[in-house]
């Protein structure tokens, strides 16, 4: 790759039209009155990725993992079922077989087929498998940084998955069933991440989608002391742009070939993967945190290059841009740092709360928030141990993120951000049988997972004398 020569002739900025959000389809889950947020969102968040193929079969670049793998028939009965995309069910049951949810409803109203094992979970809460959007979960090193070049789109985490890795095992004990496993932020592009389940007989069976995303780090870690990219943010932004423009040209040539108006470009495995970003088959997940860096992410990646953009590792005061992100359809997964200490006001600002609620946040006040559907949470494991993902949500709630929104942030929001919500993120008939049987509110650190089910298989059972978590 020789894309890092800073050229004077930049492609004219392609300012994509802002996607004015449409009214969403699904109805919000009923929440107890006490959990209703004070500030109601005036505009529903709608993610922007217009080119995404309609079904898995239409994907040209991304590879989807298998579904409906054999698993026994189970009926899980519990005092409370939280499907997330529909109202809570008291005294409910979830029926699963062959990796899939077959039925869900109230006890007595759902027929459990003969031969299915009935599992009574008492006064537990059935909650969808939790989804982690920013982690280095099976990294053989710490953060998984191979900073060979300033941008490293050639690299991928797909080959570095171990189902027996400490963090992956603990993810199961912590109720986490799906993870976007990405490289670290040591370079501007760490490589392509993988969406994987945290349980499977082997990594192939656990695969959800590769690529899960391209990991980009705009600033706040990838800075290089040597000065070959300058010493500030502009040089790094240029390196990212040139790499992506290479892939864009390749994508346009490939499109021309597909439409019969041009020759087939010479196959390039890296540019092929980058072209998938322009097809909106998967997003760029961007480590971007401070106001100016988030602004750069929004302008460069989302508006100029027209990429499906998801902010991950969202911390510091990037929340000042929540209204711009809402209009542009860019969601945020926040963490691991739940707070930002505002030196101007002396306040401990809740990052997730402020992204979600908007409000009076500095010079552009007041701003609209991303609302119920635009905010998720991540650990950056192993920086925060993977099993503490729910604690990250708890700290968000402590600082003002509405509790019900946090439950969605852990599940359906995260699934939508990376385009896997047709498989996971809620308890619905036809979705993957990923669920945790919790002793209480999953956000409360005092609650624990009794039983974890991934792809219909019971993969974790808590030992009360020696609880893993």
């Amino acid at each position: 790759m020789s894309a890092f020569v800073v050229t004077a002739t930049l492609t004219a900025a392609v300012t994509a039209a802002l996607a004015v959000s449409a009214v969403g389809q699904d109805t919000p889950a009923a929440a107890p009155a006490a959990q209703q947020p004070a500030a109601q969102e005036p505009v529903r968040f709608e993610m922007w990725h217009p080119n995404t193929p309609k079904s898995e079969a239409d994907y040209k670049v991304a590879k989807w993992g298998p579904r409906h793998l054999p698993s026994p028939g189970y009926a899980f009965f519990a005092q409370k079922v939280l499907p997330i995309t529909s109202a809570p069910i008291l005294d409910g049951v979830v029926v699963t077989r062959n990796g899939t949810i077959e039925a869900i409803g109230k006890r007595g109203e759902v027929t459990v087929p003969a031969g299915y094992e009935r599992i009574e979970c008492g006064d537990s809460i059935l909650f969808p498998g939790i989804i982690e959007l920013h982690c280095h979960i099976a990294s053989p090193s710490f953060d998984l940084n191979d900073t060979v070049h300033p941008t490293n789109p050639e690299f991928r985490t797909l080959d570095l998955i171990s189902m027996e890795h400490d963090q992956i095992k603990m993810a199961r004990a912590g109720g986490v069933s799906t993870a976007l496993y990405i490289p670290g932020s040591g370079s501007n592009m760490g490589g392509f991440g993988t969406l994987t389940k945290t349980y499977g007989k082997n990594p192939d069976e656990a695969l959800v989608r590769f690529p899960g995303s391209l990991k980009i780090a705009q600033a706040g870690n990838p800075e290089r002391g040597s000065g070959d990219l300058g010493t500030d943010m502009m040089g790094m932004a240029e390196g990212i742009r040139m790499t992506l423009l290479d892939g864009k040209r390749y994508w346009q040539e490939m499109l021309a070939f597909e439409q019969g108006t041009g020759p087939k470009p010479q196959y390039d495995p890296t540019l092929e993967l980058i072209s998938g970003l322009f097809r909106h088959e998967y997003p760029v997940s961007v480590h971007t945190q401070i106001y100016q860096v988030v602004l750069e992410t929004l302008q460069e990646l989302r508006q100029e290059l027209g990429l499906w953009t998801v902010i991950v590792h969202g911390t510091f005061d990037g929340y000042r841009l929540s209204e711009d992100l809402l209009k542009a359809g860019v969601p945020v997964a926040g963490g691991p740092r739940a707070y930002h200490f505002d030196r101007g006001t002396g306040a401990m600002e809740g990052v997730l709360a402020n992204y979600a609620n908007g409000g009076l946040h500095g010079w552009r006040s007041p701003v609209l928030g991303l609302g119920r559907d635009g905010v998720g949470v991540n650990t950056d494991s192993p920086v925060i141990a993977e099993e503490q993902l729910t604690l990250q949500a708890a700290m968000g709630v402590r600082l003002g993120w509405p509790h019900e929104w946090a439950l969605r942030g852990l599940t359906i929001n995260a699934a939508r951000f990376v385009g896997i919500d047709h498989r996971v993120g809620s308890l619905e008939v036809g979705k993957d049988a990923d669920l945790g049987i919790w002793s209480g509110d999953p956000v409360d650190p005092r609650s624990h997972v009794e039983l974890m089910v991934i792809n219909g298989t019971i993969c974790y059972r808590r030992n009360p004398d020696r609880p893993e978590w």
Partner: protein, 461 residues
């Protein structure tokens, strides 16, 4: 080893220049006696030194967690000056009592952190001379519910040592900050046989000295010229431990490297041998020790209980088990519960990490540091510790391990009025301190402080 001598010297110098009218001088003032002196009786029992009438404050109508494991619903806590006068229902309040309404709220003893940093005590001892009662992060500590903590070091390699103090977050009140200097003496385990033999010789010498001290009055009565016994050189700290004036902490370091172990999960960790070495020491001393971050304490809870020893844990710090011996290696989330069931008092502290650790601050990761001591307790509850008793791990039992339970850690008559008013269950992750009282004075109000006043609670209590 020379520190105590220097310390005594400086004390002597200090008293020499301690002239009347110089009470506010930077180095001229030292509340209380020398640190080795036995704790004074609760001042509430002493006659008032001046005629000033007591000033009364009552916290009325809250659910009062006493810190002992009990709870009084809708009770009143009456404070007289800087002490707790009484707690109960239907109290008759003296005339002029300032009433704080706590209906619908919870009242708890101020949290006692067995490890801390900053919060007005970031310099070395003697702390009475170096604490800063106006350090801004004191407010942050109070917002976290911490009203006293152990500042300084508890390091001792081979020889018991450390320089520390229990510091109170008495914002704006220099005199009220240092509760006790050097209440903790620390030693690291495991130690080599040579180190142990040397330590045991020192203990024998210290015991001999204490016997000589006990015998001295009789000897002096017999012989005017009888020489006063000399404390063994380097054994001063052990003398304090044997006298019960200092608490001996056995640092096992379990989990210090937990953050790094998480990378790959090296496995196979067991510190049972080191713990047993600590328990041997307890037997030698004839009094229990405090095991600091033992990884494998859950394997031998009854052995620990038999020596009267206690444990400080970071419940969520994980150490991988040895796959070949998983039944008795590695950490256990249920450690606190298992130890408590065997009668071993447990205190809880933060994990050690790259972005957290035992301090407040504005650059860490919330939930991983001292900003949320209740979250660490929550993980002990997750591991099976009784939710009702768990608050003891950051109140009374923590105070016991610091040797200051005579002053703080519970809401009981005669104790320091270090009290929190909370907007919910102290162990709920979304609970905030709404008012913090230290030494009877309101030192933090959520509604008046920029830190958290903008945050409204949206969860159950």
């Amino acid at each position: 080893m020379r520190t105590p001598t220097l310390f005594a010297l400086s004390l002597a110098l200090l008293s020499a220049v301690d002239l009347p009218g110089q009470e506010r001088g930077r180095r001229g003032r030292r509340p209380g006696g020398p640190p080795t002196e036995a704790p004074a009786a609760a001042p509430a029992a002493e006659p008032a030194k001046n005629d000033k009438p007591k000033s009364y404050t009552a916290i009325v109508g809250g659910d009062v967690y006493l810190g002992t494991g009990q709870r009084l619903t809708g009770a009143t806590v009456l404070i007289a000056d800087d002490k707790i006068e009484t707690v109960g229902h239907n109290l008759k309040l003296p005339e002029g009592t300032v009433v704080i309404d706590a209906k619908g709220k919870c009242v708890s003893p101020g949290f006692v952190a067995v490890a801390g940093g900053g919060m007005g005590a970031d310099r070395n001892g003697p702390y009475a001379d170096t604490v800063n009662p106006f350090a801004p992060d004191i407010k942050q500590g109070l917002a976290a519910g911490v009203t006293s903590f152990l500042a300084g070091s508890t390091n001792g390699r081979g020889t018991p040592g450390g320089s520390n103090a229990v510091v109170k977050l008495a914002y704006g009140d220099l005199d009220g900050m240092v509760l006790r200097e050097n209440p903790v003496v620390g030693i690291s385990m495991p130690m080599s046989t040579d180190e142990r033999d040397k330590l045991y010789e020192q203990i024998d010498a210290a015991k001999k000295y204490l016997q000589e001290v006990a015998d001295y009055p009789a000897a002096k009565a017999k012989d005017e010229k009888a020489k006063a016994p000399q404390a063994p050189r380097g054994g001063e700290k052990l003398v304090e431990v044997l006298e019960g004036k200092a608490s001996l902490w056995v640092n096992l370091g379990g989990g210090s490297f937990g953050f790094f172990r998480r990378r790959g999960g090296s496995g196979g960790e067991s510190d049972v041998d080191a713990i047993r070495q600590g328990l041997d020491l307890a037997k030698k001393l004839g009094r229990g020790v405090v095991l600091v971050k033992p990884t494998s304490a859950w394997v031998i809870p009854d052995e620990i209980a038999a020596t009267g020893s206690k444990a400080i844990l970071s419940p969520r710090t994980r150490v991988e088990a040895d796959p070949k011996a998983p039944d008795h290696t590695g950490s256990n989330l249920a450690s606190a519960a298992i130890l408590a069931r065997s009668g071993v008092p447990v205190a809880v502290t933060c994990p050690v990490g790259m972005f957290g650790g035992a301090g407040v601050g504005t650059n860490g990761i919330l939930g991983q540091d001292l900003n949320t001591p209740n979250v660490d307790v929550a993980y002990a509850v997750r591991g099976g510790l009784d939710n009702r008793k768990a608050l003891r791990t950051i109140t009374l039992d923590a105070a016991e391990m610091l040797g200051v339970a005579d002053r703080v850690g519970s809401i009981e008559p005669g104790k320091d009025a270090d009290i929190l008013i909370l907007d919910g269950d102290p162990l709920h992750y979304a609970t905030f301190v709404t008012t913090a009282i230290v030494n009877g004075k309101v030192v933090y109000e959520k509604g008046d402080d920029a830190l958290y006043r903008h945050i409204d609670r949206h969860t159950d209590r």
